[in-house]
Symmetry: D2
Subunit: 350 residues, 4 copies
């Protein structure tokens, strides 16, 4: 088969022939990858960022977001069969540790990441354990089935705060932030502020239902948001960017008694005014990581089925798998939403 | 002034001249009633139902839902002034008991009810304590300002369960149930079932956003709902009618681990299959009473301001206050939504 | 090996030789049963109550509570090894359904019960899947390791309400109720009322830390509890008996805004005054079933390790397995706490 | 009367004659101060720390913690009478803003602080609004009635996390931290770690029930706590000191999925490793400020009445009011718990 492989330590990756997975365990399934989407983590591996350089052991097939058709199932696989359309959860949990056994598999104590610690899905075929597979409704378009993870992140983030009838500010309007805006709209937020520094993303945020979009490099989000909330601020602040200024601005517009949801990963320590941002406000702060297994997936599927969030608006570009260099370059430019690659067929036109 | 007064014990009431309120306390306000709406409780007082016969002491001005203009304010009133448009909370709480002091004034230990225990608002003028008044945004139409209580009941009920991305079944589609359906739609319920035995109400429920409307006197709601939820049932069941069959049907369609919200008041004991309905399901059940003071009002105002629920659809008829007999008769027929009466001017046409 | 077997439909059971489990699956473990305790469910099977007559398919080895030593482990068993002391969760969940995948395996959609739907542990050896096994700290005495389920039920029930600094009333002081009293004491309940109709149990409740013990057949629990709570009632009401009068008495002493936790299984419908017990009180009601997998077990182990609940006080009698008829008769009399049987050795003296 | 007065801007204060409060409002009460205790805030005002220098407007009677006897009550005061023993809540809330009207008076939008923004209680007499008064059970010793605020802070902090059956680490063992340790013990924490850099305080923490006391200036709390929790860390981390190293150490020992409660006020920004401390851990962080009005007071009273926390152990020294310089000097040394002063009588011996 063909795959995108990190063959050696250092920047870059190679598209070419590679051995298909062969040893199917009793509870494994083999999947023909129909669509696979690019995430920021893939970019970090490609660029060989420090974080990934310490963790990834080449050679490794890259990629973790996908949807595909089951072509073979191990003997003890019970709820999946050939022909099923599945996606895979990136976080591969052990199922046996304290966290897994208490409904918190998303913070498993022995977590492995698909496409980081084990071979990924930027390939024609991909093998995974049934315990990491999600069975899709066949009515869901394949590229949406592939790109459920960012919506899932948004669902997990949204579940950490009360959205309905509340004012929310979302800092960072990339694909996940854009999904979150769509979700907040659908869940009845009374006003949605979106903040980013790239206009392309703010346009996407607007399409998803943002009420007030603010380019933080051109105007002061704190002043604008406080003006539009009668000086009280928002009920919920979502930090989806990891950029240090977002923390300061976000906590400043959070009303006392409100909830801050932290999803973005700052690359270094953040200076926080704990007294004024958190203590005096009697604030709730929630770190959210990945997606709940599998509560988030059920809700994501429900939201998609009910047509509450139009994920197709977030998917802006399609490529053949072999065009990955072009796709990665576009992704890096910031002028895209979600990008989907097709390993086994010609991509639909954009 | 003119008012609708329960002059003597027994059925009926009289519209006629009556002394206007005169002794304005330091923290009281006097309001000219611009619009006042009819609630089921008013009907019980009119009909002299047993429950009310034991409680009400005539003579008493009836009515508790209203909106009006402040015409005079006591010397220590600080946040309200002449010309403000206010509504009044029906539940007059003491502000000093255990419940009031712990954020639960809606279940005050010394609760009085406007129009039941103290003079009400079916009159040209009404006097109330500033602590029972709600300042309205002047952009809200006056009859919507009057009819905020049923929406408030719905907001309180909705806050007792997770609506967003969930399937809900609402038994009882009168004005409060209809408001709740609108709210669930706005809050992103993935599927909304409405059940009633009066088609007029089911039509109203449809207008408010119900997905599947079921006339329980003509088909089996349990079968229909289970069929449409793949046999799993709904995540949330709202009992808004007080009718005994609704309890059985509602608990039967509630999925294990789901939430039942009980708002309707059965007139006698309900036979409940506690083992199968509640224990084996590890279910959550919430009684909800009135509205949270004042969290519910803030959220109700926010929802109205954001245009999330169109309360005007629930208001189906208008009358002059003196036409109250006609209004009450219509209300009893079940062929109305909310009915608004105008004490100080000609009602707008329906 | 020897076992207690329900050989034919109808009352009774037989102690005698029976084939030991032989086919060890890849993720199964074989356990030598060191101690096994009797639960009310076992009595229902023995007596061939209607509920069990419809479900149990003889021949079947009875029993579900036990602790034992692993003597053999399947090839894919990873976290358990020979010599480990394990207990087993009675509820055998599938691990793959909606409930299992969302942290609610205790209400699995394909639940099987050990000793009811599959062979149980009233035997010298017992075979179970690693996914149903709980690894015990070796410092825990074996009979306490066996009797963790009732404490687990109590932990699950307690988790449904706020105990610390609150007044609680526990209706039903059998082994689970007695464990719950010990737990509430340890968790800082400010006052604990225990109600039962058997003095033996009330004595046990007293030993476990109950403050006020009331024999409901001799005095009115409602009057007593209201008197001792300044007429306000308790913050939390636990129904652990399933007896209809407990529901009425318990809800009457529940303060407005309080929480009712329903664990007991009434054998028929309960007449509930929904308006006064639940709605007007804005009450929270929680059905609790079994134990959370595995959050309850972790907390139970923690509580035992910290010495917070002395489970040994609840274990009142020991027998050899072959003396089961004597044990069952005693259990039926109501004059015992938990009874432990020893299949592989002479029981310690009581 | 005599009082401790900040007469002019700058360090220091004066004990001497001062006009007693005279204008009793309709809902005010006048109290003879029987006992008054010293808090860190008082020290900051005395020392004229920058924070207070910007806020305090001399002349001002200092002090906010007290208990005393009602000697006069305004005409509209309804639930208090002469002879009642009351304490006062330091945070004087307006009762009318969004926060006050939604059960969050402790973060009132127009908050005033007793002894900071208005005259305090380091005096023979003190006047306050009935809405800021707490009626004490007369069985509570007067100096404990005075020192309820630190226990109240602890109750508020404890309510932000699940304590029962959980492992907790408390950083900062001053009077509030010591109260919190006593509370966690009473609420059934399975293991309590206390960290401070002053041995006097660690001794106090031990007396209150701490299991493992660590002097952070002499050994590494992270290593010790991780060793004693099998490398998993604690379920709950309380930051009660405001010292920057506590944040780093505390978040490092917090287990994934755990809860951090932040109460201490850092004097400057804290560098936080948001990714590793909060996001990857899917952690809950709660700022806690003051005490809930009045839920915290009810629970504090209940805890005291049930004898769950022995607050007398935290009160280590007594002085006459005129000896305040001695009391302040001792307080500054770190070699005291709570210090109580007596304005109207000779202090009991220590």
């Amino acid at each position: 088969m063909h795959a995108i492989v990190k063959t050696t330590p250092g920047p870059g990756a190679v598209y070419g022939p590679w051995p298909a997975p062969s040893k199917l365990g009793l509870r494994d399934i083999l999947v023909r990858v129909e669509a696979t989407s690019i995430c920021g983590t893939d970019m970090q591996i490609y660029d060989w960022h420090e974080l990934m350089a310490h963790r990834v052991k080449p050679p490794l097939i890259m990629g973790h977001e996908f949807a595909g058709k089951v072509v073979e199932a191990g003997k003890e696989v019970s709820d999946l069969r050939e022909g099923d359309i599945v996606s895979g959860e990136t976080h591969i949990n052990c199922g046996k540790c304290f966290q897994c056994r208490t409904g918190n598999g998303h913070i498993c104590e022995r977590m492995l990441l698909r496409g980081v610690d084990t071979d990924g899905c930027f390939a024609e075929y991909h093998l995974l354990h049934e315990g990491s597979a999600w069975l899709n409704d066949k009515k869901i378009p394949i590229e949406i089935a592939s790109a459920q993870e960012p919506l899932g992140n948004a669902v997990h983030a949204a579940s950490a705060a009360e959205i309905s009838g509340n004012k929310v500010a979302i800092f960072g309007c990339g694909p996940i932030g854009a999904c979150l805006i769509g979700l907040c709209k659908s869940f009845g937020a009374s006003k949605i502020f979106g903040v980013d520094i790239v206009d392309y993303r703010l346009n996407l945020a607007k399409k998803m239902g943002g009420d007030v979009l603010i380019n933080g490099s051109q105007e002061n989000p704190v002043k604008r948001i406080m003006d539009l909330t009668d000086g009280r601020g928002v009920d919920v602040f979502f930090e989806m960017s990891g950029a240090p200024p977002s923390f300061e601005e976000g906590f400043k517009v959070l009303r006392p008694g409100g909830t801050a949801v932290l999803f973005g990963l700052p690359s270094k320590n953040v200076e926080m005014d704990v007294a004024n941002w958190i203590v005096f406000k009697d604030a709730r702060v929630r770190g959210v990581f990945g997606r709940r297994l599998w509560g988030t997936w059920y809700k994501t599927a429900e939201v998609l089925k009910a047509g509450e969030v139009d994920l197709s608006k977030v998917i802006t570009h399609r490529f053949a798998l072999e065009e990955f260099e072009k796709a990665f370059t576009l992704m890096k430019s910031g002028h895209s939403g979600k990008i989907v690659m097709y390993p086994n067929r010609k991509p639909p036109s954009n």
